[in-house]
């Protein structure tokens, strides 16, 4: 029986696909800037509710990107689903000029905080994962009522 593990055509296809994908992705990338001074940047794929106890107000973008002062910070971020809202609190010490990111990576907790470190021109590393200190689950209807007490 003949078994071909990696035909030459497959190798050429793979190489072409890699090159094309890199070019395509390069054209869409822009690294977010960090505020000058003693600041770090917090990015989140889910709405930031509070930073150090202070509610986030203003433009929509503010709920997903915040300049934070270096030092210990506490962030409250909500992971919305159609059944429940998960209010997750993170506490960590932010270093100046660094980027931090909260995302859903299907880990044991709904959200995970990463330190984002550029390794080279091609990629950055997600380092030092931090789980939330706690996540409070609230039924969606209850969370909506608390957010807007006038809602029926």
């Amino acid at each position: 029986m003949k078994i071909t593990l990696l035909p030459a055509t497959s190798f050429r296809l793979t190489a072409t696909a890699l090159l094309t994908s890199c070019i395509f992705i390069c054209s869409c990338v822009q690294t977010p800037p960090v505020k000058q001074g003693n600041y770090a940047l917090l990015l989140s794929n889910y709405p930031i509710i509070q930073i150090n106890g202070k509610s986030i107000e203003g433009e929509t973008d503010d709920s997903y990107k915040q300049d934070i002062k270096a030092g210990e910070n506490t962030a409250l971020i909500v992971y919305n689903t159609y059944s429940y809202d998960y209010f997750c609190s993170f506490t960590w010490t932010a270093e100046p000029r660094l980027i931090y990111e909260v995302t859903d990576q299907e880990n044991s907790e709904s959200l995970t905080l990463y330190h984002w470190k550029r390794k080279n021109r091609l990629w950055a590393q997600r380092l030092d994962p931090v789980d939330p200190t706690h996540c409070e689950r609230k039924p969606r209807s209850q969370a909506e009522t608390e957010a807007d007490p006038t809602a029926k």
Binding site: L5, L6, T14, S21, T60, Y64, T81, Y82
Partner: protein
């Protein structure tokens, strides 16, 4: 949650019980795609009686088993008294979620390059009992793009409706050794060769459910996917392949992973076991010799957790080894994975 999917190489071995009629159909898919349809008709009459619908169905089956979303790479080898053949498919691409601000749902998109090939050497007889050898090579290369939504029901379950467009360029070369045909123009051709090209398009609607639950350090992942596929084939060479059909496929997969004590560059390795089943619901068994694949396997994943070009997350790379079995197919799967 950004993510990526990579290519997987699979080795499959078909049971050596394919009926000769099935081989006819497979071979004639390419054998009839050529510049002069009248010559094809002459060849068909001398080798066997076969309907045009059989040819269409086999061509679409080859296309769908190469390009349908959710399929991993595969290599099939068939070696029987009547036939030596090898088929492979491969895909390289990624799928990722993106945030839709102020909405619970996330967006979901992906892009992949896909390819497939099949080489057949098939031993047949003409209606007069003379031996005929078909040497057939079919190649397919294309691209696939999808867009959709990711709807989190709760933190364990996500439902994803997706829409995919796939386009492929199909090329076939067929040599028929031992056959002599008389064309309508009066020429006699010995050992005729055919070359054909077609463009194949498909529009695919998918509904996917993905469930995740952590049990201490262990992660259980269950997923199901159902594809509704509209295929359209366009060929200037062969009117038989100017056709469109509807097809459906379903896929189920379960996987369990857990920590290992291994660390490389500070990043952990996790072991995994999985089982999956793919059902080509509307493909006739006579088209390719199988309608479903069941696979169990194990593997290792290294969680590199990087963000290429500061854009999408790439969580892990790994290897896996699986055993494939079903009523008509058995084999092994050895592949590289990326998520």
């Amino acid at each position: 949650m950004p993510g990526s999917e990579g290519s997987t190489l699979t080795i499959l071995m078909l049971k050596s019980s394919l009926p000769t009629a099935l081989i006819f159909i497979l071979s004639l898919v390419t054998g009839t795609v050529q510049a002069d349809p009248s010559d094809v008709q002459q060849a068909l009459e001398q080798i066997s009686s076969i309907s045009e619908s059989d040819i269409r169905e086999s061509a679409i089956a080859f296309f769908n088993t190469s390009t349908t979303p959710g399929l991993e790479g595969a290599t099939l080898s068939i070696d029987t008294a009547d036939r030596d053949s090898a088929q492979w498919r491969s895909s390289l691409g990624f799928e990722a979620e993106f945030t839709i601000k102020n909405y619970i749902m996330n967006g979901y998109w992906g892009f992949a390059l896909v390819g497939g090939s099949m080489e057949d050497t098939i031993y047949l007889e003409t209606v007069n009992g003379d031996p005929v050898v078909l040497d057939v090579r079919r190649d397919l290369i294309g691209a696939r793009a999808n867009i959709g939504l990711s709807l989190p029901v709760d933190k364990h379950l996500k439902i994803r409706p997706l829409f995919t467009i796939a386009i492929s360029d199909y090329h076939a070369e067929t040599d028929v050794d031992g056959l002599t045909i008389n064309t309508p123009s009066g020429d006699t051709i010995t050992n005729p060769s055919y070359i054909s090209n077609a463009t194949m398009l498909s529009s695919i609607g998918t509904i996917e459910a993905a469930y995740i639950r952590w049990i201490r350090q262990g992660k259980l992942e269950l997923s199901g996917r159902y594809n509704f596929i509209h295929n359209q084939s366009i060929s200037e060479d062969n009117p038989i392949l100017d056709t469109d059909t509807w097809n459906r496929t379903s896929m189920l997969k379960g996987m369990y992973s857990n920590n290992t004590p291994l660390m490389t560059k500070g990043r952990p390795w996790r072991w995994l076991v999985y089982a999956s089943h793919t059902n080509f619901i509307t493909i006739n068994k006579s088209a390719l010799g199988y309608t479903g694949l069941f696979e169990v396997g194990t593997g290792l994943e290294w969680h590199l957790n990087i963000k290429p070009l500061d854009w999408f997350g790439w969580q892990s790379v790994g290897i896996k080894l699986g055993v494939i079995t079903s009523r008509d197919v058995e084999g092994i799967n050895f592949g590289l994975t990326a998520r």
